[in-house]
Symmetry: D2
Subunit: 354 residues, 4 copies
């Protein structure tokens, strides 16, 4: 292999699950070098102290964000895997000091383009409104070309990715009734992050199932924005998230009604054609349904369409790994576009099943 | 305690999960004696060989059904926990030889009252049509008085119980639009029984989630029958079952639209009033959502109602233990009515959580 | 049933898992009334806010310990399910103000009778040394008569119960080599309690297995004390605990060598004879091995003995539910003795499997 | 990349878990081409029908073994992932017809070199005794050079790999007492394969833990052979396998006594030095213990050594993924040696945690 200069990458927030997943993927990405890992509460420790699976690998020591001299090391791109809310301040500061760095933000801070919508959903004005305008929404299959030229990409949420990939082509084609969409979504526990909370303990989660955030989950704001944009009119969907006693995976079960006499097979045909050349979206044969386990650890989304027994209605399921296509894998996909790598570089893992 | 004569009970099909659950409950029921346990493939073995949790308990040895002299032992009631399809022949024979025995059937064989509906869903004519007419549908909260006088009770399915308990009072009150009901149901694995199939192996089920039987699950026939009966018109719902990597529990997430301006709070009020005096149905405060783990091992159903963000729509969740209220517990509840015991006898277990 | 005065019971620390398990068992105990529930951080809330499975039941509101007037309500017995360390101060104060109350303590604070051993293992002098001397070790099968007359009983640890029940009769009979005992123990997650810690999150525990506290787990102190007492000489065992991705259950795999030519069958015979009349210890036939799932939710311990292929060595497995026989069930068993109820009252639950 | 001729590979038994894992790994191995997949019961189907995770990938259709013309396609190497017992006949036939093919056998059929030992453990004479003599035991870290030149490699068992890697260097160094080794092993469910058996159903396995095959597991024969060879004397160990409710992973907890005053730190030093340059065996710092989740999906083995509180005794834990280093990963590692690829080709996956 010819000697090449690898892109220097930083991960802000490496002690959470999306941070660890970025490290897992980037360790095997031939075009990059992990040059910076931050974790404020664990600063000074080795990554292996926080995630022992990295014990055999050489990685930079964890540092705090405030200890970084941004004018210095010449990072090419940073991933920001910090909690919602604090992220906008950090990115504003980073880009203020090092305007040439590219950023893929995995938080929700830059996903909403409309300042009013942001304020309504989050209860306060955005603290970096210029960057909010600059940010590109990072659903690759919808915004690939804009992402190539972007400096700041807002990586989509896990639930929203799993609902947008099946629904956006159908809404754009005006193929379904935009007023009657029900999204019943189910997620594994890693989607809730690594913060120690009683409700996330093994004993609270194992051997049980429940809905949460019913009627008011913040991912709805992203759904509204992208669905309305695709449909060319305001779209408001019913969306209910549930917690599954598993680590990884989201399944969206979506109930739709075809427009203008279009039936389930027509919807399937639209999706199949739309995603024919996409490397990471796979539409199953009509009537087959996806399972989360079959995409575990991979960047793939599987989509299935089935005929409901009520005429004109279809049931669509989409499955992805919330830490990969729903977070860090999609973030690497964005990075590949932003840095000019082939889009699938470092994302070739075949799903780990069983 | 005064000396009493205990009712003699038989369990046909004691080597499956619902059979074992009947034994668990009846061992602690003060009014009954387990006099007969059958298991054709395991005939001659002890119950402890099939379910080691019963090792410390004295129980009758497993026998085959054909070895039983029905004119003999004077059973008061038998539970029939046999596979769908074979059951109708067995019960026909039992009641032919011992017409005085009462029967609670846990299979689907006698749940549909309409011979044509049975033939349509199961692909063949019913083989005991007179008994089909005689059978009473055993949803206690809906048919309590008829059950008291019944000789043959068809115990409802687990999915159907978990959908009927929240929906029947609303349909009977004409409070919801009967044309727009979506039931997204999720079940633990014990609902699939104990037959050894590849898709039910631990390694196939753990760490994953998927829908199955989409568009054509047989429980729909029961839903149609009871919903139409409650609503006084034909009702056809959308129903999608999913498998959760857990042993016990069903959660139904139900999407409805209120009729005539009635909102979610009105629906909640109807349910709360309807179930106020029921020992086994508990309506949570408005806005609270049930979890399957909080009813595990108990005969309780928890119901919650939440406002959707789309005006006029509500999201209703119901949770029960598929082996208890969804099968063997409801069967014992039926037995208690049929034999004149207080309805909750033997069903007082508090849920096992965590 | 004749009118009886029920014993008034308090549970200190009702918001943890052993507290909830006490409430589950005592709600169905015919001789007692739950008169007091404390939970300092949740004081003022209802038990159903902390454990929704109790929603249908009337229970006293949670209060803080310091708000209680101990001279007042005339409790007959309190269970103390508080963290290790703080317990000794609380019990000292309770018994100082209300000397007539009986106490079953589920913490480790009063399990070690020797002040020097306590100081060595816990790093500080005991703060209630008189009570330490008074306390009776609550392994019912070993100390039944002393427990009947006790005011303060130290309920054994879950791991220690699961090792002591199989080993104490063998050590007492001098049937095994006391210098070559290896105990490899595995526990479900509820044994770690309900405190929110990163290592106890679902995503950290599911789909994995590991040993912890290797070489220095505090339950060793209890093992030393009771094994040495049984053997009439100092006994120090090798003990390694592991975490299993399940909620409930402990399995101890114990490696022993028979003394004086005694083989595995002799060891089995000793255990079988010793526990023949015990209601909660069940010795399986020689060669059969217990599973934790078969005692889940019950107060039973199953013990199995198998021949190793190395002559003279045996492998013994014991299984119990860490929250029942390993904690709250054994505590109720102690209460029954202390208050004069039949020993099995309220503990008749059959295991919940599957 | 220069145009290269890829090695043509066959997988016999592609419908089982080790077969699927081979396909997962080989799909991303740059030097090979998957040219043949067999599955007798599923012949004629696509791999995606058997394992939907492969839906997006082009793979040869499944065929039956007997339909293959071995003189034809010029395979370079076949993996044999067939059940124990039938394998020896199949390989004998394959090598009879196509003597130039190399074979990595994942079954137990060629692991024992001694015909008498084979007959004793399996109850019948070996049916390909010449091949039994030819076969090289495929524990790469012990037999690397012999494997390079081998035609037939017997891939070690999962339990045995996880016990041999930590123990062989210690036995070879005479550092531990060979008469006092206890191996308490715990495995995830995929180790039991994909055959549909009642005891492997999700509902039978979840939320429980137990030992099995106690005293007579066939992996003992492999342990005896390799431990005796390493120690230069007969070694017989105590070995107890357990089933963990998880998919992947084996943890061996090993109890040893140091020889000649050697303590736990000395044992750790021997292992650390021995494995310093091995790509797939990682010795943790003294006192740290491995977890199976941290090697999930990778070809790594983690080893930890801890001091027991009994002087001179050490507790050693080893963790690996039973489907990777315990089966298919190690098989690919063997293939790499046999075909002259760099040893780690296609095995660079970082563990998937959480």
């Amino acid at each position: 292999m010819p000697e090449i200069t690898k892109a220097k990458i930083g991960v802000l927030g490496a002690s959470g699950y999306t941070g660890a997943e970025l490290v897992r993927l980037l360790l095997r990405h031939q075009g990059v070098e992990l040059a910076l890992l931050t974790a404020d509460r664990r600063a000074g420790q080795e990554m292996r102290d926080v995630f022992p699976q990295f014990s055999p690998f050489g990685l930079p020591k964890l540092v705090s964000i405030e200890s970084i001299d941004w004018s210095g090391p010449g990072l090419d791109l940073v991933f920001c895997a910090l909690p919602h809310g604090t992220t906008q301040k950090v990115i504003k500061e980073v880009l203020g000091k090092a305007p040439g760095i590219k950023v893929v933000d995995l938080s929700a801070d830059f996903r909403l383009a409309d300042p009013a919508a942001y304020a309504r959903w989050y209860g306060h004005a955005h603290q970096a409104p210029e960057l909010q305008q600059e940010a590109v929404y990072g659903l690759v299959e919808a915004y690939r070309e804009r992402i190539r030229g972007a400096r700041l990409v807002a990586n989509p949420g896990c639930y929203t990715t799993c609902a947008q990939l099946p629904l956006i082509p159908l809404l754009a084609a005006r193929a379904i009734d935009a007023d009657e969409i029900v999204i019943d979504a189910k997620s594994g526990m890693t989607g809730a992050g690594r913060a120690a909370k009683e409700g996330m303990l093994f004993s609270e989660v194992s051997e049980g199932f429940h809905a949460y955030g019913v009627g008011h989950h913040r991912h709805m704001a992203e759904l509204d924005q992208e669905f309305s944009s695709a449909a060319g009119r305001e779209v408001v969907v019913t969306f209910t998230p549930h917690l599954v006693p598993m680590n990884r995976g989201i399944l969206s079960t979506i109930y739709v009604r075809g427009n203008g006499g279009g039936g389930p097979q027509d919807l399937h045909a639209i999706l199949q054609k739309h995603y024919m050349s996409e490397p990471f979206v796979h539409v199953l044969p009509f009537g087959a349904m996806p399972q989360t386990r079959h995409v575990r650890g991979s960047n793939l989304t599987f989509i299935g369409v089935v005929k409901d027994r009520i005429a004109g209605r279809a049931i669509i399921c989409a499955a992805l790994d919330n830490l990969v296509k729903g977070a860090s894998g999609q973030a690497v996909q964005n990075m590949n576009l932003m840095l000019g790598f082939p889009e699938a570089t470092g994302l070739e893992q075949v799903a780990l099943f069983p």
